[in-house]
Symmetry: C2
Subunit: 445 residues, 2 copies
């Protein structure tokens, strides 16, 4: 048996997913360290290259160096490939290579693909993966074409590259941008705050990328018959609509008061879409009120939908928790949504994910706040941005010490690989014991 097959036998799905992600990140970091990757043809320090590669593969978008002014065209191309791999998922990309080369996909590989896409069953997974890859590339192409005229007007020929890069970055919910200059780094899309084409194209790419592959499949199969959709798709679409409309309303009523009506509407919409979990921004977050920032932290924490390029605890997790609260208050045994009961396990998993994300983002914020003597709320903004792989920033990240940046790298990795995947891998040996312990009542609340 060749070495890699023997290794594969010893690893479970989850461990191999983690190893693959880690390998792609390390290869990316090595490529980014090469002098050819930097504008100034110098070697980028390892920790900065590692931070950038992690941020790209985990489609986060937090950066320690301004993307456009530090990295060369080669470096930017490396970043785009890393984003594309990270966004579609290492497994999906690997599977598509196997497909292209005509090799048969093994059952264990199908299982991995299923995990990667949160698909309910293994059957049809190869067909689904092909659909995902084709649709992704097509949508990214359309997005690039929409933005081409604007970017070519402003940047000439290099506008083509900018259109492609931003389309990929938006669709994969990565949030990397090429708008910084040596004098004005980290500006993201603030220059296009009033441009409807860029605002709406990027917003649409973010939303389509963030609702998840399976939702597209449902939309493609069932078209407008909403009642025939999977429960999951219904929940995702309803939650996404609500989580865009309500924050837009809030931002429109209480923020951006100095802007014109059109600018204010676009700013409100974009700043509602981007925290879940894109990471571009057209407004300066340091100029927002503390409520606006708090709302952004909440939106980042909730994030996108399962089986997508997005991070966060996920819309379905939030929906299950809310439905569970209603079920408990109505003294029903299990939560219900759209005329369907949810499993007990869904509630347990949702509570566990929520607890994990909360503990990690708060602990990270406390440590960074204490180490760097920065306000806790600002640190919480950065750590939530990292664990939910958003990439929005109040501008602290480039100035943090190595310990704090290490914490952010760890949070991004956990956030993209997924809390459960990570921990299942670490604890794969310890399945539930046969002899169950005696039960005892405990009062809560």
């Amino acid at each position: 048996m060749p070495f890699h097959r023997r290794l594969a036998c010893k690893l479970n799905y989850f461990q191999s997913i983690i190893l693959m992600f880690a390998a792609v990140i390390l290869i990316g970091a090595a490529l980014l360290m090469l002098p050819i990757s930097a504008q100034e043809r110098t070697v980028t320090p390892f920790h900065e290259a590692l931070f950038t590669a992690t941020s790209a593969v985990c489609v986060t978008g937090l950066v320690v160096r301004d993307t456009a002014s530090h990295w060369s065209a080669f470096g930017q191309a490396v970043l785009m490939v890393l984003i594309q791999i990270g966004g579609l998922g290492v497994i999906t990309v690997g599977a598509s290579f196997s497909l292209l080369s005509g090799r048969r996909i093994s059952l264990s590989q199908r299982g991995r693909m299923q995990e990667a896409m949160s698909a309910p069953k293994v059957g049809g997974i190869v067909r689904l993966t092909g659909f995902v890859i084709r649709t992704s590339l097509m949508i990214e192409g359309i997005g690039a074409l929409c933005m081409l005229p604007v970017f070519c007007r402003d940047f000439g020929v290099s506008g083509i590259w900018k259109a492609v890069f931003h389309s990929v970055s938006a669709f994969c919910n990565a949030g990397f941008d090429l708008m910084g200059t040596p004098d004005m780094p980290f500006v993201s899309l603030t220059a296009y705050r009033a441009d409807p084409v860029i605002n709406l194209t990027i917003s649409a790419l973010i939303v389509v990328g963030g609702v998840g592959f399976l939702t597209w499949d449902d939309v493609r199969t069932n078209r407008l018959c909403f009642h025939r959709y999977r429960l999951q798709s219904k929940v995702i679409l309803a939650a996404t609509a609500l989580l865009i409309l309500l924050p837009t309303l809030y931002f429109f009523c209480f923020e951006f008061k100095g802007s014109t009506l059109r600018e204010r509407l676009l700013l409100s919409l974009f700043q509602s879409v981007t925290p879940r979990t894109a990471g571009f921004n057209t407004a300066d977050y340091t100029s927002l009120s503390s409520s606006g920032r708090g709302l952004t932290i909440l939106l980042m924490f909730i994030g996108g939908s399962p089986g997508s390029t997005a991070g966060g605890i996920k819309t379905t997790t939030a929906a299950v928790l809310v439905a569970n609260a209603f079920a408990v208050f109505h003294r029903q045994k299990s939560p219900e949504m759209f005329g369907r009961r949810m499993e007990e396990k869904a509630v347990h998993d949702a509570a566990a994910i929520f607890t994990l994300y909360l503990v990690l983002s708060l602990t990270g914020a406390f440590v960074i706040s204490t180490v760097e003597t920065l306000p806790l709320s600002e640190c919480l903004f950065e750590t939530t941005s990292a664990i939910a792989t958003v990439g929005l920033s109040l501008g602290l990240t480039p100035h943090l010490g190595i310990v704090s940046q290490g914490i952010l790298i760890f949070l991004m990795f956990i956030g993209r690989v997924g809390g459960l995947t990570m921990i299942y891998a670490a604890l794969s040996g310890s399945k539930s014991s046969v002899a169950r312990l005696p039960q005892e009542r405990i009062t809560v609340g």
Copy 2:
């Protein structure tokens, strides 16, 4: 059938609990409005009297008027009675009057008493209530005696009243104090920051009051045989120890840097004990770092233990959520602690309570922050303090408008009556339907 019996038949346990709390609050507010209740013999406005009465009955300790300088001796006595009633629970107090008057306690009354104490079974509830009342009064007496020398040294004869009032206020986790003067209102116990007698007595009263009546019963019955305790008592004692030690360590290492070693130790200990959910303070919270305030918000949110005078989501709720996270990550079906399995229902209830408290405190903070244009983090401090019936304040509360004070009154009431009690009452008719909906899978996280 007399009117009050017919009324009692129509109301369920929960509705009658809420009505009794509301009635006591309104009577208290009426008494506090009387000119005889104020130092200046003037009528206190209704909304201020209502806020103060709610704060006392809900053992919160948030105030809009400084207790010592605004209220007369009569007003202070009214407050102490309200605190005692609110602390022991309206039902417990009612039952003890019945006991003293020799009337038989009906089965439905026993049920109410069981709910009020989070007791696992109705049997022995009358014996337990008697034990609770006797022990409470005894501990409050001991506390008052301990503090008597210090207060008599500082205030002469009126030190006796101060010792009794502070003992009751500390044991009931109310946090009302009589230390303010017209020139220096709202000072709480900051003058005694270096006094070991006051610090340790008050801390002990807070902890003993906060672990819950059933835990005392366990300690009394099983003495030092920790393994024979109820699961609930074990969890409560372990969580309480941890939630005092760890924050003390944090505060000692990172806060109060200008103080002497002894003062720093006492300050750290007291500021770790008081957020869960006493509400006295010996340090000025506005001088704490943002991390220190954030930690305080977390501690307030967790709060005390079920069946006690304390508020918050409760230590057991936090413990169930953490145990559930571990169980999910170990792929066990139900969470385990101290060699016992917990019910599925405990996880559902804990997640629901957590969701409810989070939504309420955040929504309250957003509204107050927007209405009063104050920083969100400071508003979150006040709303968490209200819903967890803590009473710590960054000093905003007396300056808030009527809408914001109304929100705090609502949060205090929900926090003391208990989220579940409140909502069960509102929705008592709608028990789970017989026909169960079909189940469908949903992916979370």
